[in-house]
């Protein structure tokens, strides 16, 4: 009648991702993300690559509303 389940409360150790495996992903995607954020947040404001205003104007409202200095 008394079926006790005395399983100790143990926290199962989580599988970790080896940092050696993670590093190339982090570097590649980190650079890509920085580039993307640059074009949305700062291009054709302080620095212009390429020159002109088309990119600035296209992402203009996003740049203002996401809190980046615009002009």
């Amino acid at each position: 009648m008394s079926v006790t389940s005395a399983t100790p409360v143990s926290t199962p150790s989580l599988p970790t991702v080896p940092l050696r495996e993670l590093a190339p992903w982090a570097v590649l995607f980190g650079l890509l993300a920085a580039l993307v954020v640059f074009f949305v947040s700062a291009d054709q404001g302080a620095i212009s690559i390429p020159s002109g205003t088309a990119i600035h104007e296209w992402v203009h409202d996003g740049r203002h509303l996401l809190g980046y200095p615009c002009h």
Binding site: T11, S13, L14, P15, T16, V17, L19, E21, L22, W25, A26, F29, G30, L32, A33, V36, V37, F39, V40, S41, A42, G45, A46, I47, G52, T53, A54, E57, W58, V59, H60, D61, G62, R63, H64, L65, L66, G67, Y68, P69, C70, H71
Partner: protein, 260 residues
Amino acid sequence: MTARVFLVRGLLAGLLAGLATFFVAHAVGEPSVAAAIALEGSHSEDGHNHGHSPADGHSHAEDGTVVSRHDQRTWGLLTGTVAVGTALGGVVALVAAAVAGRMRRLTLGQSTALVSAIGFVSFALVPFLKYPSTPPAVGNADTIGSRTGAYFAFLLVSVVVAVAVTVLAVRLAPRIGTYGAVVGGALAYVALMVVAGRLFPTVNEIGDFPADTLWYFRRASLIILATMWAAIGVVLTGLLLRLQSRERVVIARRELAASL
């Protein structure tokens, strides 16, 4: 779990966060942008156009732009929120992958949610407190270089300090306890950012811009940033938890099969 499965889910979470941010930004933020541009138009006659004259290719008025205002507030805004959302989602996921199982007793869901929360505070909230967003028609075109530099330098300091105190708190937790490590880490971040905030130049180019329009714009901006980070955190945590429970089922089945 591999880096790939984290990144894929981060990109998906970021994409969805970008879409959600677009709808919020379009509904909450665009009225303030329109109000600011209308003010700019009415001010530009009295020599108060902050360098937004068509001469330097930077007018917000419909006739002086390459991209129409309609495109700017729809497809342009969507491009910006989705691009930034996807980039941030991927970065958050890779950071979540790096800390998963390495933050003491935090589960995968807890550590991922914590990374998103620290990301919001250090990447969005604290930079906003020092350099709040400004609507169109505010800001001197001559200082855009120094303002951009200061903003991103402060952002970098904030993120680096946040990462450093978090790593330190995790390291010190076994010795001083979780409570002490969390409170100490948070206090250290606040103290260092207050010092950094005092050292960085203050920007005030508001002039006589109406305070109510400015407040509505900044409130909208904060809501938009919170939407993006909340959506990234919630969706990514949910996706990773689902993946984890699926993997556990597979492992349990394998163990059962092995025991037969």
